[in-house]
Protein backbone atom coordinates (compact mmCIF):
# COMPACT_ATOMS: atom_id res chain seq x y z
CA UNK A 1 0.00 0.00 0.00
CA UNK A 2 1.50 3.26 -1.08
CA UNK A 3 -0.35 6.20 0.45
CA UNK A 4 1.52 8.75 -1.62
CA UNK A 5 0.07 7.56 -4.87
CA UNK A 6 -3.42 6.81 -3.71
CA UNK A 7 -4.11 10.02 -1.88
CA UNK A 8 -4.33 13.40 -3.53
CA UNK A 9 -4.12 16.87 -2.01
CA UNK A 10 -7.91 16.66 -1.81
CA UNK A 11 -7.58 13.77 0.63
CA UNK A 12 -5.04 15.68 2.69
CA UNK A 13 -7.43 18.64 2.81
CA UNK A 14 -10.11 16.38 4.26
CA UNK A 15 -7.70 15.24 6.96
CA UNK A 16 -6.90 18.87 7.64
CA UNK A 17 -10.59 19.58 8.11
CA UNK A 18 -10.80 16.71 10.61
CA UNK A 19 -7.90 18.27 12.50
CA UNK A 20 -9.62 21.64 12.35
CA UNK A 21 -12.89 20.39 13.78
CA UNK A 22 -11.31 18.10 16.34
CA UNK A 23 -8.68 20.43 17.67
CA UNK A 24 -11.07 23.39 17.51
CA UNK A 25 -13.35 21.63 19.94
CA UNK A 26 -10.41 20.55 22.06
CA UNK A 27 -9.08 24.11 22.26
CA UNK A 28 -12.51 25.33 23.37
CA UNK A 29 -12.59 22.64 26.05
CA UNK A 30 -9.09 23.63 27.15
CA UNK A 31 -10.06 27.32 27.32
CA UNK A 32 -13.06 26.48 29.49
CA UNK A 33 -11.10 24.21 31.77
CA UNK A 34 -8.31 26.70 32.37
CA UNK A 35 -10.45 29.81 32.02
CA UNK A 36 -7.75 31.17 29.78
CA UNK A 37 -7.79 32.08 26.11
CA UNK A 38 -6.18 29.33 24.05
CA UNK A 39 -5.56 30.05 20.38
CA UNK A 40 -5.38 27.34 17.79
CA UNK A 41 -3.45 27.53 14.52
CA UNK A 42 -4.81 26.14 11.27
CA UNK A 43 -3.85 22.46 11.34
CA UNK A 44 -1.31 21.01 8.99
CA UNK A 45 -1.29 17.56 7.51
CA UNK A 46 2.22 16.38 6.84
CA UNK A 47 3.56 13.37 5.06
CA UNK A 48 6.96 12.99 6.69
CA UNK A 49 9.62 10.39 7.41
CA UNK A 50 10.18 9.26 11.00
CA UNK A 51 13.00 11.66 11.81
CA UNK A 52 10.92 14.55 10.49
CA UNK A 53 8.08 13.58 12.84
CA UNK A 54 10.51 14.23 15.72
CA UNK A 55 11.66 17.49 14.15
CA UNK A 56 8.12 18.93 14.12
CA UNK A 57 8.30 19.16 17.92
CA UNK A 58 11.93 20.16 18.22
CA UNK A 59 14.00 17.02 17.56
CA UNK A 60 14.43 13.57 19.11
CA UNK A 61 16.55 14.86 21.98
CA UNK A 62 14.25 17.50 23.38
CA UNK A 63 12.44 16.95 26.67
CA UNK A 64 8.66 17.14 26.52
CA UNK A 65 5.61 16.43 28.62
CA UNK A 66 3.22 14.25 26.67
CA UNK A 67 -0.07 12.48 26.97
CA UNK A 68 -0.43 9.47 24.72
CA UNK A 69 -3.51 7.45 24.00
CA UNK A 70 -4.81 4.96 21.52
CA UNK A 71 -7.81 5.82 19.42
CA UNK A 72 -10.04 2.78 19.43
CA UNK A 73 -13.13 1.89 17.43
CA UNK A 74 -13.73 2.06 13.67
CA UNK A 75 -10.60 4.00 12.73
CA UNK A 76 -7.84 3.19 15.23
CA UNK A 77 -4.74 5.30 15.59
CA UNK A 78 -2.51 7.12 18.02
CA UNK A 79 -2.97 10.50 19.60
CA UNK A 80 -0.40 12.69 21.32
CA UNK A 81 -0.78 15.88 23.26
CA UNK A 82 2.69 17.43 23.48
CA UNK A 83 3.92 20.39 25.49
CA UNK A 84 7.19 21.87 26.64
CA UNK A 85 7.84 21.31 30.37
CA UNK A 86 7.41 25.07 30.85
CA UNK A 87 3.98 25.10 29.20
CA UNK A 88 2.81 21.95 30.97
CA UNK A 89 3.90 23.46 34.29
CA UNK A 90 1.78 26.54 33.57
CA UNK A 91 -1.25 24.35 32.88
CA UNK A 92 -0.70 22.42 36.11
CA UNK A 93 -0.41 25.67 38.02
CA UNK A 94 -3.66 26.94 36.49
CA UNK A 95 -5.43 23.72 37.40
CA UNK A 96 -4.06 23.04 40.87
CA UNK A 97 -3.23 26.52 42.12
CA UNK A 98 0.18 25.22 43.17
CA UNK A 99 2.28 28.19 42.08
CA UNK A 100 5.59 26.47 42.84
CA UNK A 101 5.05 23.49 40.58
CA UNK A 102 7.62 22.92 37.81
CA UNK A 103 8.15 19.98 35.45
CA UNK A 104 11.77 21.03 35.10
CA UNK A 105 12.47 19.91 38.67
CA UNK A 106 11.46 16.30 39.47
CA UNK A 107 10.04 14.45 41.33
CA UNK A 108 6.49 15.42 40.38
CA UNK A 109 3.50 15.29 42.69
CA UNK A 110 0.77 12.78 41.97
CA UNK A 111 -1.68 15.65 41.71
CA UNK A 112 0.35 17.21 38.89
CA UNK A 113 0.56 13.94 36.99
CA UNK A 114 -3.13 13.25 37.30
CA UNK A 115 -4.07 16.79 36.30
CA UNK A 116 -2.06 16.46 33.08
CA UNK A 117 -3.70 13.09 32.52
CA UNK A 118 -7.10 14.68 33.02
CA UNK A 119 -6.15 17.41 30.58
CA UNK A 120 -5.36 14.68 28.05
CA UNK A 121 -8.66 12.98 28.81
CA UNK A 122 -10.73 16.08 28.20
CA UNK A 123 -8.86 17.17 25.08
CA UNK A 124 -8.81 13.78 23.39
CA UNK A 125 -12.45 13.19 24.33
CA UNK A 126 -13.58 16.44 22.73
CA UNK A 127 -11.32 15.94 19.70
CA UNK A 128 -12.63 12.45 19.07
CA UNK A 129 -16.28 13.18 19.72
CA UNK A 130 -16.29 15.96 17.13
CA UNK A 131 -14.35 13.79 14.70
CA UNK A 132 -16.86 11.05 15.36
CA UNK A 133 -19.79 13.40 14.63
CA UNK A 134 -18.15 14.54 11.41
CA UNK A 135 -17.34 11.09 10.07
CA UNK A 136 -20.14 9.04 11.66
CA UNK A 137 -17.49 6.64 12.86
CA UNK A 138 -17.39 5.10 16.29
CA UNK A 139 -14.24 6.45 17.96
CA UNK A 140 -13.22 6.48 21.58
CA UNK A 141 -10.00 7.15 23.49
CA UNK A 142 -8.12 4.61 25.59
CA UNK A 143 -7.03 5.59 29.09
CA UNK A 144 -4.34 8.24 28.57
CA UNK A 145 -0.78 7.61 29.62
CA UNK A 146 1.65 10.36 30.49
CA UNK A 147 5.40 10.45 29.89
CA UNK A 148 7.94 13.15 30.57
CA UNK A 149 10.98 12.35 28.49
CA UNK A 150 12.72 12.76 25.15
CA UNK A 151 10.68 13.39 21.99
CA UNK A 152 12.18 10.39 20.17
CA UNK A 153 11.56 7.97 23.01
CA UNK A 154 7.92 9.03 23.22
CA UNK A 155 6.85 9.58 19.62
CA UNK A 156 8.45 6.37 18.36
CA UNK A 157 5.61 4.54 20.13
CA UNK A 158 3.16 6.29 17.88
CA UNK A 159 5.07 5.09 14.83
CA UNK A 160 5.30 1.38 15.72
CA UNK A 161 2.00 0.42 14.19
CA UNK A 162 2.51 2.23 10.89
CA UNK A 163 6.23 1.44 10.66
CA UNK A 164 5.28 -2.13 9.79
CA UNK A 165 3.71 -0.80 6.60
CA UNK A 166 5.49 2.44 5.73
CA UNK A 167 8.66 4.41 6.26
CA UNK A 168 6.74 7.63 6.63
CA UNK A 169 3.80 8.92 8.63
CA UNK A 170 0.80 11.10 7.90
CA UNK A 171 0.61 13.47 10.84
CA UNK A 172 -2.44 15.63 11.49
CA UNK A 173 -0.81 18.34 13.56
CA UNK A 174 -2.55 21.22 15.30
CA UNK A 175 -0.63 23.85 17.21
CA UNK A 176 -2.23 25.69 20.07
CA UNK A 177 -0.90 28.76 21.79
CA UNK A 178 -1.45 29.95 25.34
CA UNK A 179 -2.55 33.52 24.76
CA UNK A 180 -1.13 34.89 28.00
CA UNK A 181 2.46 34.02 27.25
CA UNK A 182 3.64 34.04 23.67
CA UNK A 183 6.76 32.47 22.29
CA UNK A 184 8.10 29.17 21.02
CA UNK A 185 8.18 27.62 24.49
CA UNK A 186 4.45 28.21 24.86
CA UNK A 187 3.39 26.14 21.90
CA UNK A 188 1.67 22.83 22.28
CA UNK A 189 0.92 20.18 19.69
CA UNK A 190 -1.92 17.83 19.09
CA UNK A 191 -0.93 14.88 16.89
CA UNK A 192 -3.29 12.39 15.33
CA UNK A 193 -1.59 9.44 13.63
CA UNK A 194 -4.19 7.12 12.13
CA UNK A 195 -3.15 3.49 11.59
CA UNK A 196 -2.65 2.87 7.84
CA UNK A 197 -5.96 0.97 7.27
CA UNK A 198 -7.89 3.76 9.03
CA UNK A 199 -7.41 6.24 6.18
CA UNK A 200 -9.55 4.11 3.91
CA UNK A 201 -12.22 3.91 6.62
CA UNK A 202 -12.22 7.65 7.21
CA UNK A 203 -12.46 8.54 3.52
CA UNK A 204 -15.12 5.92 2.83
CA UNK A 205 -17.21 7.21 5.72
CA UNK A 206 -17.16 10.66 4.12
CA UNK A 207 -18.05 9.29 0.70
CA UNK A 208 -14.64 10.05 -0.82
CA UNK A 209 -13.19 7.38 -3.08
CA UNK A 210 -9.52 6.53 -2.63
CA UNK A 211 -8.84 4.56 -5.80
CA UNK A 212 -8.81 7.47 -8.25
CA UNK A 213 -5.38 8.88 -8.90
Amino acid sequence: MNLDNRFTSYHLDILKEIGNIGAGNAATALSKLLQRKIDMKVPSVRVVDFDEVMDIVGGADRMIVSVFLRVEGDAPGNMFFIMSPTQASRFVRYMTGDEAFDFNTPPYSELAISSVQELGNILSGSYLSSMSDFTNLDLYPSVPSIAIDMVGAILSYGLLELSQVNDYAIVIDTTFVDDVAQGEEMKGHFFLLPDPPSFETIFTSLGVPTDET
Binding site: D61, M150, A153, V165
Partner: protein, 161 residues
Protein backbone atom coordinates in the same frame (compact mmCIF):
# COMPACT_ATOMS: atom_id res chain seq x y z
CA UNK B 1 29.52 14.93 24.70
CA UNK B 2 31.34 17.38 22.42
CA UNK B 3 33.35 16.13 19.46
CA UNK B 4 34.39 17.55 16.13
CA UNK B 5 32.97 14.79 13.99
CA UNK B 6 29.64 13.40 15.02
CA UNK B 7 27.81 11.01 12.74
CA UNK B 8 24.11 11.01 13.56
CA UNK B 9 21.99 7.93 13.15
CA UNK B 10 18.24 8.52 12.73
CA UNK B 11 15.41 6.25 13.77
CA UNK B 12 15.41 2.97 11.81
CA UNK B 13 18.82 3.82 10.39
CA UNK B 14 22.45 2.70 10.76
CA UNK B 15 25.96 3.90 10.03
CA UNK B 16 29.65 3.33 10.86
CA UNK B 17 32.54 5.56 11.94
CA UNK B 18 36.33 5.48 12.24
CA UNK B 19 38.30 7.21 14.99
CA UNK B 20 38.38 10.25 15.55
CA UNK B 21 34.68 10.56 14.69
CA UNK B 22 31.99 9.52 17.14
CA UNK B 23 28.53 8.17 16.36
CA UNK B 24 25.31 9.17 18.05
CA UNK B 25 21.61 8.41 18.07
CA UNK B 26 18.98 10.42 19.96
CA UNK B 27 15.83 9.62 21.86
CA UNK B 28 15.86 5.83 22.13
CA UNK B 29 12.68 4.63 23.80
CA UNK B 30 11.57 1.09 23.02
CA UNK B 31 14.10 1.10 20.18
CA UNK B 32 17.53 -0.44 20.72
CA UNK B 33 20.79 1.31 20.00
CA UNK B 34 23.07 -1.50 18.86
CA UNK B 35 26.78 -0.70 18.80
CA UNK B 36 29.18 -3.19 17.22
CA UNK B 37 32.85 -2.27 17.28
CA UNK B 38 36.39 -3.44 16.67
CA UNK B 39 38.72 -1.69 19.11
CA UNK B 40 41.90 -2.71 17.29
CA UNK B 41 40.63 -1.22 14.03
CA UNK B 42 39.15 1.75 15.95
CA UNK B 43 35.96 1.16 14.04
CA UNK B 44 32.38 1.27 15.27
CA UNK B 45 28.90 0.90 13.83
CA UNK B 46 25.53 1.82 15.29
CA UNK B 47 21.98 0.79 14.40
CA UNK B 48 18.76 2.34 15.76
CA UNK B 49 16.55 -0.76 15.66
CA UNK B 50 12.81 -0.16 15.86
CA UNK B 51 11.17 -3.57 15.45
CA UNK B 52 12.29 -7.14 16.20
CA UNK B 53 11.52 -9.03 13.05
CA UNK B 54 11.22 -8.16 9.34
CA UNK B 55 8.47 -10.76 8.99
CA UNK B 56 6.27 -8.14 10.74
CA UNK B 57 6.56 -5.98 7.63
CA UNK B 58 3.35 -5.55 5.70
CA UNK B 59 4.73 -3.24 3.03
CA UNK B 60 6.51 -4.12 -0.21
CA UNK B 61 9.83 -2.46 0.53
CA UNK B 62 11.74 -3.33 3.64
CA UNK B 63 14.04 -0.79 5.20
CA UNK B 64 16.77 -3.12 6.45
CA UNK B 65 17.96 -0.90 9.30
CA UNK B 66 14.51 -0.94 10.91
CA UNK B 67 14.44 -4.59 12.00
CA UNK B 68 16.79 -6.45 14.31
CA UNK B 69 17.06 -9.47 12.03
CA UNK B 70 18.09 -7.37 9.01
CA UNK B 71 19.92 -4.43 10.61
CA UNK B 72 22.58 -6.52 12.35
CA UNK B 73 23.57 -8.56 9.25
CA UNK B 74 23.79 -5.29 7.30
CA UNK B 75 25.90 -3.66 10.00
CA UNK B 76 28.22 -6.69 10.21
CA UNK B 77 28.74 -6.63 6.46
CA UNK B 78 29.61 -2.92 6.48
CA UNK B 79 32.04 -3.34 9.38
CA UNK B 80 33.81 -6.28 7.74
CA UNK B 81 34.09 -4.34 4.50
CA UNK B 82 35.83 -1.57 6.47
CA UNK B 83 38.38 -4.01 7.85
CA UNK B 84 36.76 -5.02 11.14
CA UNK B 85 37.64 -8.52 12.39
CA UNK B 86 37.14 -8.98 16.13
CA UNK B 87 33.86 -7.56 17.29
CA UNK B 88 32.16 -6.70 20.55
CA UNK B 89 28.76 -5.14 21.13
CA UNK B 90 27.19 -2.62 23.49
CA UNK B 91 23.45 -2.13 23.79
CA UNK B 92 21.14 0.57 25.13
CA UNK B 93 17.41 1.21 24.97
CA UNK B 94 14.48 -1.19 25.00
CA UNK B 95 12.56 0.83 27.58
CA UNK B 96 8.86 0.73 28.28
CA UNK B 97 7.78 4.35 28.14
CA UNK B 98 4.04 3.84 28.65
CA UNK B 99 2.05 1.48 30.81
CA UNK B 100 -0.48 0.02 28.43
CA UNK B 101 -1.80 -3.49 28.84
CA UNK B 102 -4.14 -3.65 25.87
CA UNK B 103 -1.72 -3.54 22.99
CA UNK B 104 1.05 -6.03 22.28
CA UNK B 105 3.00 -3.32 20.45
CA UNK B 106 3.48 -1.51 23.74
CA UNK B 107 5.75 -4.28 25.03
CA UNK B 108 8.01 -3.93 22.04
CA UNK B 109 11.14 -2.97 24.05
CA UNK B 110 11.84 -6.43 25.54
CA UNK B 111 10.98 -8.09 22.23
CA UNK B 112 13.46 -5.86 20.41
CA UNK B 113 16.15 -6.66 22.94
CA UNK B 114 15.59 -10.40 22.66
CA UNK B 115 15.77 -10.24 18.86
CA UNK B 116 18.99 -8.19 18.91
CA UNK B 117 20.64 -10.61 21.35
CA UNK B 118 19.72 -13.58 19.21
CA UNK B 119 21.34 -11.97 16.15
CA UNK B 120 24.51 -11.12 18.07
CA UNK B 121 24.70 -14.67 19.35
CA UNK B 122 24.32 -16.03 15.82
CA UNK B 123 27.24 -13.86 14.70
CA UNK B 124 29.27 -14.81 17.77
CA UNK B 125 29.59 -11.20 18.91
CA UNK B 126 29.89 -10.96 22.72
CA UNK B 127 28.00 -8.21 24.55
CA UNK B 128 30.55 -6.15 26.49
CA UNK B 129 28.01 -3.97 28.27
CA UNK B 130 24.36 -2.99 28.17
CA UNK B 131 21.97 -0.46 29.67
CA UNK B 132 18.50 -1.64 28.71
CA UNK B 133 14.95 -1.63 29.99
CA UNK B 134 13.45 0.74 32.53
CA UNK B 135 11.06 3.49 31.55
CA UNK B 136 13.29 6.29 30.36
CA UNK B 137 14.54 7.55 27.03
CA UNK B 138 18.23 7.49 26.15
CA UNK B 139 20.56 9.39 23.85
CA UNK B 140 23.77 7.49 23.19
CA UNK B 141 27.16 8.33 21.76
CA UNK B 142 29.90 5.85 20.94
CA UNK B 143 33.60 6.59 20.65
CA UNK B 144 35.47 3.98 18.55
CA UNK B 145 38.88 5.10 19.82
CA UNK B 146 38.30 3.74 23.35
CA UNK B 147 35.03 1.80 23.03
CA UNK B 148 33.18 4.04 25.48
CA UNK B 149 29.42 4.38 25.16
CA UNK B 150 27.98 7.49 26.78
CA UNK B 151 24.32 7.39 27.75
CA UNK B 152 22.32 10.50 28.52
CA UNK B 153 18.88 10.43 30.14
CA UNK B 154 16.54 13.23 31.13
CA UNK B 155 16.77 12.64 34.87
CA UNK B 156 20.02 10.80 35.52
CA UNK B 157 22.45 12.85 33.46
CA UNK B 158 25.30 11.16 31.58
CA UNK B 159 26.68 7.72 32.40
CA UNK B 160 29.26 5.62 30.58
CA UNK B 161 29.42 1.90 29.91
Amino acid sequence: MKHDFVVKVGIADLNIVHDPAVIRTSGLGSCIGVVIYDLRAKLGGMAHVMLPDSSLAKGEHIKLAKYADTAIPMLMELLRKEGGKTFKAKLAGGAQMFQFQSNDMMRIGPRNLEAVKKQLKDYGVPIAAEDCGGSNGRTIEFNPSNGALQIRTVNKGVTEI
